[in-house]
Amino acid sequence: MTRSRILTTTGVLALVGIAATVWLGLWVTPNAVNFGDLVRLLYIHPPMAWVAFLAYGMAFLSSLGYLWRRTRDPRLDRLAGASAEVGVVFTGLTLITGSIWGRPTWGVWWTWDPLLTTTALLFVLYLGYLALRRVPGDPEVVARRSAIAALIAFVDVPIVYFSVSWWRSLHQAPTVDLSGRHLYVHGSMAWTLLLGFVSFTLAYAWLTAHRYRLAALADREADEGLRQALDERRAEGEVLV
């Protein structure tokens, strides 16, 4: 009971936090010197990206825990799956909000910047991971294989980032300079950004916990269904006797 109360509180706090971020971001904070109204994206875009990486980190750690024999536990597998799923949603949101930022700032929806390219590849990588998780089969087998896939995907991320940034730096001068204009975050802007980070992190915890609970219920339903079917067959046998 207390657990579900904590969950509800987290959810309410997350929603209130996000609503407050929206209100502060859209109405209270001032325009930035170089960016105008665009700066308002700042309050949600970096927090979304942060949540995506946090989610993948969590999925990686729980997969690692699952693979290690002594801590192998279906709960870790569920956590990895729930976290990765939330991560994919937030990666998608990060890419979308990033594109919206990119169009007016650099004139393009997309640029082959290392961070962008890595994020896009990350999106595809973890879509593959989720596809693997959804494959029907012995839950333990799927869990173990998913854990290994999560491991490989996570190790790939720094290599991708490094290789893409090297690729870009060796090419002709980048057409779009991400670090060109400086943005000073101060006063109400800093507070709004901080609030954004906190409330999106809470939203992450809330969504992941719910997704986890759902997975646990689905597992239990499968078990109960099996038991029920066994009982029915047994009852049929007794009638015949």
Partner: protein
Amino acid sequence: MRDAWLVAGKDLRIEFRSRVAVNQVIPFAAAVILLFGLALGPSRQVLAPASAGLFWVAVLLSSVLVTQRSFAVEASDGARDALRLSGLDPAGIFLGKALAVAVELLALEALLTFGVAVLYGARLTGALVLFAACVAATVGLAAVGIVYGAVASGLRVRETLLPLLFLPVAAPVLLGATKAWDEALKGTPSGGLGWLSLLAVFAVLYVAIGTVAFGPLLEES
């Protein structure tokens, strides 16, 4: 290590006798580079500079087929169970299968190199860098391919799942190998050395992961 040689020998012998690689994978790769030629037009000014990238995309697509084939031979007649009961070291099985795939891919690359030179008019300079990039990239591809092949093997959706899992992870190999080849074909092979080390790091990392992870992958199902 002896186990690795055994498994690699077995896989290569099967390939040699069944000729699936010769009859299907090589023609597939040839079709891919022909189609690239059609897509990018007949002009050699366009094709020659792009040949490194096109070559490696063709290799990447073919490596999906080779990996699938490597697990298809284990799928029939309970070969997978036999392999597991054989008492061979899982790490040895992994290394053996990866080695067999790498050898097949290297043979394919040799033929494709020829094809790229003829069809796209690429001038093959910096042979040493070209060759080293092939070896390093192929070991990396084979290692990732075999791990993911094992992850997807035995599942009903393996044919569609493997490319989705494998191709994004192989992105750094595509990038590194293409750049190394680019430098070599442009006549500045020393520019490719950095990329070679990236390929080597990738290969070492995934061979290590595969060696460790293959035990848990084999012990079930």
